[in-house]
């Protein structure tokens, strides 16, 4: 987080990529994109391109990791070697290990873990292209993949970052803002429950700015939440259509 003399926001409050302070990057969400996973989702968030897949609830493998009183959620956040500027070794970095943990802890509050003892759900996230905010986009996609797998959820989890750029708190940092800005605050949120399930921060913020950042990030989350629901509906409407057709065929 260096403060270099590049202007990231112009006099009219417009950011390098033409967005206003509280504007999201373009988003695209798709559910049910992989045939082998029990549930899957694809997200494009800015130039981020991320796939998430969910397997389960199923028997834990290896078995000794199963818990007698709850379901186990496992999460792997992983970046493709070609997803970033300099080729990344496919072996998990310390950053990827940490993000896998915080993403898991961002998703767990949405699950009824105690209802499915001795089982496991595995969530695999592959970042195909990274553009700032991969952890947030990963959570948004992973929640959809879990829902698509039919795992009961308290709410969808949706995530978005806020940050401070040129002394201003703005929504949804892109790569350059992330690198040159003064702070980055990723937030994961369950809107219907008003519950924050991930919160991190890098940089320096006054208490007020921090508060402001959390709020603007939640407002971004709420917008993406609508797209999540739409994406789920779209898939299941399509599926429903097919099922109706199949039923018709059966009836014929």
């Amino acid at each position: 987080m260096n403060d270099k003399p590049i202007k990231l926001i112009d006099k009219k409050g417009i950011r390098l990529d033409g967005r206003k302070a509280d504007e999201l990057r373009p988003l695209k969400l798709q559910v049910g994109v992989l045939s082998n996973a029990d549930g899957s989702a694809y997200i494009e968030h800015g130039k981020n391109k991320i796939l998430a897949a969910a397997f389960g609830p199923r028997e834990m493998h290896p078995k000794h990791l199963a818990l007698a009183d709850r379901m186990v959620l496992r999460c792997r956040y992983h970046m493709a070697p070609f997803s970033v500027q300099e080729r990344k070794s496919p072996a998990p970095s310390r950053r990827e290990v940490e993000l896998s943990k915080v993403i898991r802890e961002a998703l767990e509050p949405a699950l009824f873990l105690e209802l499915y003892p001795r089982t496991g759900v595995d969530v695999f996230i592959e970042v195909l292209q990274a553009d700032g905010g991969t952890r947030c986009a990963s959570i948004t996609a992973a929640a959809l993949a879990i829902a698509d797998a039919g795992v009961p959820m308290r709410d969808l989890v949706v995530a978005c970052a806020a940050g401070k750029v040129d002394d201003k708190v703005v929504l949804d940092l892109h790569d350059e803002e992330d690198k040159l800005g003064a702070a980055d605050v990723p937030v994961a949120y369950m809107p219907s429950l008003d519950a924050i399930t991930l919160l991190q921060m890098d940089g320096i913020l006054t208490p007020n700015e921090f508060q402001q950042a959390v709020e603007i990030a939640m407002s971004g989350c709420k917008k993406i939440y609508e797209m999540q629901k739409e994406a789920l509906k779209t898939k299941y409407m399509v599926v429903k259509d097919i099922e109706e057709k199949e039923e018709e065929e059966v009836e014929e």
């Binding site: 082998n36 070697p81 695999f124 292209q129």
Partner: protein, 263 residues
């Protein structure tokens, strides 16, 4: 491992093929529908995503500078890696590459290397010191069989889509300039995998077919119809006659694919 139902199903598949029929009505020597999208990872120097039926593979190409091998000081370096990431199949587990991903990477690598697909002689910046290294990363996203052919095709498509930055090299310093040139290529090998199921030769097996196959042979064929890499796999054998048939089949199907993609 496999339940009774699965085993009954696999037996049916195998019997069907004995009678010249496929699961999905294809002929024994037909590929599933193939779709290739190039350039989908903008941050990579090259990329391609292939859909071969439900099998889906993404290949990204990164180009960096590095040292040449001591015995080829004037040549760039080609390096192929394959990841069977766990979202592609319940059978894939996270962890370091296992023998299957290593074999896949090495088959793709040999097809390109032995046919001299990349013109590595044009990737030298300073002999013995600095050359371009071409990283070809094969990323399997959904596994429904025939990963070898799908990965080899996607790798070729990604390389054909790869751009090299223009540069200036002075006093040991490489300076990137505006603009790009295409990665120089000398050949476009196509790999065709033939599997033996109930003594029938079949191409482009789906996953369920691979589970009942006896053995497979993958043959890379170049523009001249010459053979530039071969790999037999699986726990059974081929007769010499079957090898001959497989090699003819590979040439015919490679030519067909070459025509289809205009490569």
């Amino acid at each position: 491992m496999s339940s009774l139902i699965t085993r009954v199903r696999l037996k049916q598949i195998s019997q069907h093929i004995e009678n010249g029929k496929r699961l999905d009505e294809r002929g024994l020597h037909d590929y599933r529908p193939i779709k290739i999208e190039q350039g989908i990872i903008e941050k990579a120097e090259g990329s391609a995503r292939i859909y071969m039926g439900k099998t889906e593979v993404l290949v990204g190409v990164k180009v960096e500078t590095g040292e040449p091998f001591p015995d080829t000081p004037n040549e760039g370096v080609q390096t192929v890696n394959a990841e069977l990431v766990p979202l592609a199949s319940p059978d894939f587990e996270p962890g370091p590459p296992d023998e299957n991903s290593i074999e896949l990477a090495r088959i793709v690598d040999r097809g390109l290397r032995e046919s001299h697909a990349i013109d590595t002689g044009k990737l030298c910046v300073e002999a013995g010191k600095k050359v371009f290294v071409v990283f070809v990363d094969v990323y399997v996203l959904n596994h429904d069989g025939n990963l070898i052919d799908a990965s080899a095709l996607a790798a070729l498509a990604a390389l054909m889509n790869t751009k090299l930055p223009n540069y200036e090299y002075k006093n040991g310093e490489l300076k990137i300039k505006q603009g790009f040139t295409q990665l120089p290529m000398k050949s476009h090998p196509i790999t065709v995998t033939i599997v033996k199921i109930n003594n029938q030769l079949v191409i482009d097996p789906q996953l369920e077919e691979e589970k009942v196959m006896d053995s497979r042979i993958s043959i890379a064929v170049n523009e001249q119809g010459n053979i530039c890499a071969v790999q037999k796999g699986g726990s059974s054998y081929f007769t010499p006659q079957q090898i001959l048939e497989a090699s003819k089949l590979a040439q015919a199907k490679a030519a067909e694919l070459r025509k289809k993609f205009n490569w």
